[in-house]
């Protein structure tokens, strides 16, 4: 207790991990996120093995240039995030705020671009159930340019990228909260747990996208 501590330091609590609670908690939570994406990505791998013909060559349906730009954006946001953390460590409030705002903005842009990508895909006739009946892609498939059915391709594509987008959205919301706290000067050089913890989440979501971009768009 604080009073007793004046005379003698209190006995040490047993510490199992050499990190503070919030950080440990976030890592633990990320463990469950790994398993969640395992369910989605694992299913994708298995389904694709079982039915390789439902997939097209990279770029045939999906828009690679725009997602490549989006990938770059997310990498940038990870960089700004880690810069924000470095600024917090240095107690540099100005740069902390700057980088956090940048992260929020880039993250939101990522979600926006993804929304745009989705509308374009739907417009061309690619939906979670496969081709949209009567859509442009369905006609090309009828003409033999594309696989006859991409039902399972659409299912996995939208579910995986959609849930990733959902995670980014959640991350942006939390990041706005952290930014707000930063503007109120809550993070000091000695205690900036919030920044580090949200950073871990953010980088994790970036990491998932790195995997997704490769296996969904490029393979």
């Amino acid at each position: 207790m604080a009073h007793a501590a004046v005379m003698q330091p209190p006995p040490k609590r047993e510490v199992g991990a050499d990190v503070y609670n919030e950080k440990l908690g976030m890592w633990v939570f990320l463990g469950s996120e790994v398993m969640f994406f395992t369910a989605l990505i694992g299913s994708y791998i298995i389904l694709r093995f079982g039915n390789p013909d439902a997939w097209t060559a990279p770029g045939a349906i999906l828009n690679i240039p725009i997602t490549a730009v989006n990938t770059f954006l997310l990498i940038c946001s990870s960089m700004t995030m880690v810069k924000a953390f470095a600024a917090a460590q240095d107690g540099d409030q100005q740069r902390l705020k700057l980088y956090l705002v940048a992260t929020v903005l880039i993250g939101a842009t990522f979600v926006g671009v993804q929304a745009y990508e989705y509308t374009q895909l739907v417009h061309h006739g690619f939906v979670p159930s496969g081709y949209l009946v009567g859509g442009e892609l369905a006609e090309r498939a009828a003409a033999g340019e594309l696989p006859a059915s991409v039902g399972i391709y659409g299912s996995t594509f939208y579910t995986m990228t959609g849930f990733h987008g959902f995670h980014v959205t959640m991350g942006v919301l939390c990041m706005i909260f952290v930014t707000w706290k930063a503007f109120r000067g809550k993070y000091t050089a000695t205690d900036h747990r919030g920044v580090e913890v949200i950073g871990l989440y953010w980088h994790f979501v970036d990491l998932v996208w790195i995997i997704l971009f490769t296996i969904v768009y490029l393979i």
Partner: protein, 587 residues
């Protein structure tokens, strides 16, 4: 910040403020209140699950006769009190679902994970009290969603608690659409609650142990809850992911489990059981932990082979991940894979044997006090062994050909889940009731409840083995349809009558539980002469738990130690021979 301890001590002080009723009892962040909230919720669900079971048994024991009181059910469920087959399927599905996800799992993990972890580890609260509150208030809407399914058009989910696709994926096959979707949503939401809870428990166990509470001084109940939390953390998201995919198959036309368009029905089974088998260990490990604590306490002896008990828990937790295929031996899965899964499954008998015999070793040369918790704990060992041994029959892929999807499985389920988990829960409730509510439960009615439950449980479920051996399939609405099952009908009727008596036998428990809350004898701090830290604080403990962070000098099972006069030696009692634990580096 120099050490992790600073914010904790701050939390201790928060307790001294006056807080409003709502903050104190409804949106409380106190782990003890949250534990009690989980308890009330899950006991209500236990009751619901029990009533559904009684309806199932009515139909099986007295097929196509009007169920007493069945007249109040709407035409779509039971016209004239006679259950419809589609309603029967919903009953079975919802019985399994509610019992597993909304009764036993929250009772074990939600209630005791919350209540015991901080208290037994000497922490003022969970690592993240607000997250803890969120975890309960996320579970409530999940429960509401689940119950809502009974009232929607088309009826509730009817594809079994295992919701095998494609039966569950397309309303065309069962006529159920909204019900199944609510079911999936509810489990996804409940999953979030469980994951938040598990995150909290793991962090608390790793980082918030009192000074001197080293890993190998932790009580086995905490070890079990810790390993269970890891299983929850890693298994539940698989279910959430799978449930979401199935939900999309139902709603937005994806094809994950639809064989006609590139999907794979077996993928559902793999995902479900990859979650599902760890899940069944989630349902037994905490029970094993509680039973270990209770048996050592009642026998007045240190737990036999503490270290091997810990390793056995870890081994079961680990092996639980590599056996899921034993539910799929006859599913058309690769037969070579089947043999691999058989071997890994059989090996779970080894850590289970260690646990069983170590419990017996604990009783050996003890001085056993048969208080009500101990009665339930002994019943746990006796019944879990039956369930575990019946598991060995089906672990043999060869013999599983014959008993897969028969009542042998149903007998197994109930011996491990009722005979195992639920007996342990009864034991845990009576053991920690004084701490939770500050009152003792009535021991006489406790014994009456125990004896009746034990007898009727066995009369109800033991004969199910013989039904299974005779080839009686599970999940069938009317067994008299098959000639080869007709001679077994008297057994079914016998089981049903035993079940009705079993359900009635729960009455003394329910009354005892409710009445003791108001009228029970005042509980002393340490009614069972136990060593755990929770018994060193008042019953019920104040907000913040410990006036001063306790220091731990030994493991939790130092009963009948020659060092002291009395036959127990609390973990935080300092003897002259005990060295002080290391000091913090100072602030």
């Amino acid at each position: 910040m120099a050490t992790a301890a600073v914010p904790l001590d701050e939390a201790t002080h928060a307790g001294s403020h006056e807080i409003s009723f709502i903050r104190k009892y409804i949106f409380s962040t106190d782990h003890k209140i949250i534990g009690i909230q989980f308890m009330l919720m899950s006991l209500i669900f236990l009751l619901v699950g029990g009533i559904l079971a009684a309806m199932i048994r009515w139909q099986l024991g007295f097929p196509n006769t009007s169920m007493p009181g069945g007249g109040i059910l709407p035409e779509t469920m039971a016209p004239g009190g006679i259950l419809l087959p589609e309603f029967y399927n919903s009953l079975v599905t919802m019985h399994g679902t509610i019992m597993v996800f909304f009764a036993i799992m929250p009772l074990l993990v939600g209630v005791y994970g919350n209540y015991l972890i901080p208290l037994k580890l000497g922490a003022p609260d969970m690592a993240f009290p607000r997250l803890n509150m969120a975890s309960f208030w996320v579970a409530v809407p999940a429960g509401i969603l689940m119950m809502a399914g009974f009232f929607v058009e088309g009826g509730h989910a009817a594809a079994g608690w295992t919701v095998y696709a494609p039966l569950s994926a397309d309303p065309e096959w069962t006529g159920v659409s909204t019900g199944q979707q609510l079911w999936l949503l509810s489990l996804a939401v409940l999953g979030l609650s469980s994951i938040l809870g598990a995150t909290n428990y793991i962090t608390t166990v790793v980082n918030m142990r009192a000074p001197g509470m080293t890993w190998f001084r932790m009580p086995l109940s905490i070890w079990a809850l810790f390993v269970t939390s890891i299983l929850v953390l890693l298994a539940i998201p698989i279910l959430s992911g799978a449930a979401i995919m199935l939900f999309f198959d139902q709603t937005i036309g994806t094809h994950f489990f639809d064989a006609l368009d590139g999907g794979q029905p077996l993928l559902w089974q793999h995902l479900f059981w990859y979650f599902g088998h760890p899940e069944v260990y989630i349902l037994i490990l905490p029970a094993m932990g509680f039973v270990s604590d209770i048996i050592a306490n009642a026998s007045r002896k240190p737990i036999f082979g503490y270290h091997s008990m810990v390793y056995a828990i870890i081994a079961i937790g680990f092996l639980g991940w590599v056996v899921w295929g034993h539910h799929m031996f006859q599913s058309g899965m690769n037969p070579t894979l089947g043999t691999t899964f058989m071997i890994s499954t059989l090996f779970i008998a080894v850590p289970s044997a260690i646990k069983t015999f170590n419990w017996m070793g604990t009783m050996w040369r003890g001085n056993i006090r048969f208080h009500v918790p101990m009665l339930h704990a002994t019943a746990f060992v006796a019944m879990f062994v039956i369930g575990g041994l019946s598991g060995v029959f089906m672990a043999s892929n060869t013999f599983d050909i014959y008993i897969h999807d028969t009542y042998f499985i149903v007998a197994h389920i109930h011996y491990v889940l009722f005979g195992g988990s639920l007996f342990a829960i009864f034991g845990a409730i009576t053991f920690w009731y004084p701490k939770m509510f500050g009152r003792m439960m009535n021991p006489f009615w406790g014994k009456v409840h125990f004896v009746l439950t034990f007898i009727f449980f066995n009369l109800a479920f033991f004969p199910m083995h013989s039904l299974g051996v005779a080839g009686h399939m599970r999940r069938i609405y009317d067994p008299t349809q098959y000639e080869f099952l007709q001679p077994l009908q008297p057994v079914n009727t016998f089981i049903s009558i035993s079940v009705f008596l079993l359900v009635l036998s729960q009455l003394p428990f329910a009354l005892n539980f409710i009445l003791s809350w108001f009228n029970g004898a005042k509980a002393p701090d340490n009614p069972w002469d136990d060593n755990g830290l929770e018994w060193s604080v008042p019953s019920p403990p104040p907000h913040g738990n410990f006036k001063e962070t306790p220091t731990v000098y030994r493991g939790a099972y130092e009963f009948s130690s020659p060092l002291v006069e009395e036959d127990f030696l609390p973990q935080n009692k300092k003897l002259d021979s005990d060295p002080e634990p290391a000091q913090a580096a100072g602030h």
